[in-house]
């Protein structure tokens, strides 16, 4: 027996699509139509060859107006394909678009049960009855329209952030470019020569920074962090704390240089991964931007030697907090390199076991012969996938850039620094796309490739000099091969940058790899569940520079599509509270991850209220409510219960 949905008095039109024969080959659509047409409230039930065709859409519009209909159900393909198509049809007919329900009788019926046509037909009837039950109870909903501020906060002034800033400025959007460090450039600035163009990171950053500075609509804040954010898409109010630089213009470059030379303090230089020392007043490199040094106040002894040479130094400078109002937030906060654990392939047990990031800085700093700790280096062994592709570890992903970048560095070692012996101890080389050319070049120029498997990693013996690395080489039927080397380079991948405060303030969703999480990796790759918050570059997962720039440009188009109309329509499927049923226990407030619930008093009685601009319609608040006082519009308690009843047949 097939249960009837409750009759609510609505006049409902039902359209059963054959989808050519994709549905009707397996579902007896005529039988479905007969069953459905007998249901209460069903004013008409029609079969269409293609419901999405123009002619069918026009017929539905005419039916809505002529019958007239109060609601429609289209039983066809997945709503993911045509929900908006038929919402548009409903609207053109004069209906509220939320008085339309699409029932999936193709992907979840005719195709999934093509082996059992009779049962697929019965299931189609159940599914359509559930759709009728839902639409019978559906309320007309109106998307909220809110004004959108034509400005964006881009967090992170690396390649992705600066590339995006330039494009958005050219599209007429005001840009606030917020960089945590005192200099722009992110990790790329540390990178030296890069594949495939041999441009240096410094050159790329310089070019981008000059473009940024040409545009008046871009404001750059360095040493700056977001410390608070209120509001939502279209209207975020952000507080930015700007750390003091302790240096301000005017002061000429020569005076800066003398001030740096005069500083008696020396500390490890993080920019060079502690391979070198720097002063307490410093630049990371000569042509860095903004072109003013910064004082590291944690290291400064306030001896004031620098003041003798440069009058722009202000050791009493204070931080300041500014407020900015933006329509969208664009996160391009980058990555951290993986830091091997002590003892991991001899790391920190032998000084000549270094990370790939350190090698890149060494290459950038080396002029002439390749020497490390005073000795000439003639043999280099690279161990790949350190901190990446871990079967048992946390970082299960491939860091994507490392194979190509390491091989590019090996070519540089051989060609420019004349290092004759280079070993690549790898888990399978992934120089995808055009980058394969580098692999070919390295292989044919004398580099040796040895391959290991995850559960039989190479053994690094660090007790004696030179270092020995032993590997059971997969490529020679697991022959044990031992190489002696002057330098071991651990090819370390990318891990998420630690941004605990920012994640907490902006409620950035994280994926299982702890990188920022997009809504859908294929279909909505730069959007997050926080409306108006987009992500790009390596904060989302490992990428090379070209891929980072591509994702930045994708995010630019998304931001522009949000802001360019001056107003934004929001999905109305949000939480709603029935104050009469609410007994305020606070559980919904605890469950909401988006600060979308507040306690208010109506006639001195405390009840929950939904802050609609913050609500994402996730529904996490609904199951925890002991009095079932909260619903999600479009997924209300009565709607879902009636669907279950209709499906139970």
């Amino acid at each position: 027996m097939i249960k009837e949905p409750n009759f609510t008095g609505k006049r409902i039109g039902v359209y059963i699509c054959q989808c050519g024969s994709n549905i009707s080959d397996y579902v007896d659509v005529e039988k479905v139509r007969e069953e459905i047409s007998r249901g209460k409230g069903v004013s008409l039930a029609k079969i269409t060859m293609f419901a999405c065709a123009d002619s069918a859409q026009k017929e539905i519009v005419a039916d809505i107006q002529n019958e007239p209909l109060d609601a429609i159900v289209v039983a066809s393909c997945s709503p993911k394909l045509h929900l908006n198509t038929f919402r548009g049809v409903a609207e053109r007919g004069g209906l509220n678009p939320y008085n339309y329900v699409q029932v999936n009788i193709r992907e979840q019926d005719s195709w999934a049960h093509s082996d059992k046509p009779a049962q697929a037909t019965l299931k189609a009837i159940h599914l359509i009855r559930a759709g009728i039950a839902k639409v019978s109870l559906s309320e007309p909903l109106t998307p909220m329209t809110i004004p959108a501020e034509n400005s964006v906060a881009i967090v992170g002034a690396g390649v992705a952030g600066m590339r995006a800033a330039i494009e958005l400025a050219d599209l007429g959007v005001n840009v606030h470019l917020i960089e945590r460090e005192h200099f722009v450039g992110g990790r790329v600035a540390q990178w030296g020569k890069m594949s495939m163009t041999n441009q240096t990171g410094e050159e790329i950053i310089t070019e981008l920074y000059h473009e940024v500075k040409k545009r008046e609509s871009i404001r750059v804040y360095t040493g700056a962090n977001i410390i608070a954010s209120k509001g939502s898409i279209g209207n975020f109010n952000i507080q930015v704390k700007i750390q003091p630089r302790y240096v301000e213009p005017p002061c000429d470059p020569e005076s800066f240089k003398k001030a740096i030379e005069a500083c008696p303090v020396e500390v490890d230089d993080e920019f060079n991964f502690n391979l070198t020392k720097r002063k307490a007043i410093f630049f990371n490199y000569r042509s860095e931007f903004p072109a003013m040094p910064v004082v590291d106040m944690a290291a400064c002894t306030r001896c004031e030697e620098c003041l003798k040479y440069c009058h722009g130094i202000r050791l009493d400078q204070q931080y300041r907090i500014i407020e900015i109002h933006v329509g969208s937030i664009f996160l391009a906060t980058g990555f951290n390199p993986y830091e091997p654990k002590k003892g991991e392939f001899g790391y920190q047990e032998h000084p000549n076991v270094i990370t790939f990031q350190q090698l890149k800085r060494l290459l950038d700093l080396t002029k002439g012969e390749f020497r490390f700790r005073g000795k000439k280096i003639e043999r280099v062994a690279f161990i790949y996938c350190v901190g990446s592709r871990q079967i048992d570890g946390e970082n299960k992903y491939c860091a994507r850039y490392c194979c190509t970048s390491a091989i590019h560095a090996a070519i540089q070692l051989r060609q420019e620094l004349k290092v004759p012996f280079i070993y690549h101890i790898n888990k399978g080389i992934r120089t995808y796309g055009k980058q394969e050319i580098l692999y070919e070049q390295s292989s044919t120029s004398g580099d040796v490739y040895l391959q290991f498997v995850e559960d039989d990693p190479p053994v690094v013996e660090v007790l004696n000099n030179p270092i020995k690395v032993t590997v059971n080489d997969l490529l020679t039927a697991h022959m044990e091969v031992t190489v002696t080397t002057d330098l071991v380079v651990l090819i370390t991948g990318m891990v998420p940058r630690v941004n605990t405060e920012l994640i907490s303030i902006l409620k950035v969703p994280l994926g299982k790899d702890h990188f920022y999480n997009e809504i859908h990796p294929k279909l909505r790759p730069v959007e997050t569940m926080i409306d108006g918050l987009v992500i790009a570059g390596c904060c989302q997962g490992p990428r090379n520079i070209a891929e980072s720039a591509s994702s930045a440009l994708a995010a630019v188009s998304k931001v522009y599509s949000i802001l360019n109309k001056g107003e934004i329509k929001l999905e109305p499927t949000l939480a709603i509270v029935n104050p009469a049923a609410c007994e305020w226990c606070g559980k919904c407030l605890e469950a909401c991850p988006f600060d979308a619930i507040e306690r208010i008093e109506t006639e001195k009685v405390p009840v929950a209220r939904i802050i609609e601009s913050n609500c994402k319609g996730c529904g996490m608040c609904t199951p925890v409510c002991p009095t079932e006082a909260i619903d999600i519009k479009g997924y209300t308690n009565p709607e879902v219960r009636s669907m279950i009843e209709a499906m139970s047949g």
Binding site: S78, N517, A591, P623
Partner: protein, 134 residues
């Protein structure tokens, strides 16, 4: 005459697990036609009362196709969905419904085969129970 497999109600999620159900159809992967899905925004929005209502309406099993760690609304989804199952288990015990009749598994947006295998397995287990009971 072949007996109909047990009825299973699936709570699938709009952005993560329901696309996997669509993909299963696209790949023509067959599972029992007595499996019906209700789409919800997030697996942590499923009310225990809905699950109980499904049992009352005659569904032999309920399956939550959870977002798991892919949930676009955040990491707390896993814990919250687990709590929903825990609370429902208490209600099921009170009504004498075996707790195994409610299952939950993370189903990602491309986990079509996983979903189909889960459904076949679950339907088989429920059918075995019915046979043993009779």
């Amino acid at each position: 005459m072949e007996k109909d497999p047990p009825k299973i109600l699936v709570f699938s999620t709009e952005k993560i697990s329901d696309p996997a159900l669509d993909l299963a159809g696209l790949m023509k992967l067959h599972y029992p036609p007595t499996v019906h899905a209700v789409v919800v925004p997030c697996s942590s929005s499923v009310r225990p009362s809905w699950i109980m209502h499904a049992f009352e309406c005659g569904f032999a099993g309920v399956f939550i196709a959870a977002d798991g760690s892919d949930c676009p609304y955040g990491e707390t989804c896993i814990e919250k969905t687990a709590k929903i199952v825990e609370r429902t288990h208490v209600m099921m015990r009170e009504k004498g419904i075996p707790t195994e009749n409610l299952k939950m598994a993370a189903v990602c947006s491309v986990c079509a085969e996983l979903f189909v295998n889960q459904m076949r397995l679950f339907a088989g287990e429920l059918a075995d129970k019915t046979t043993n009971a009779t």
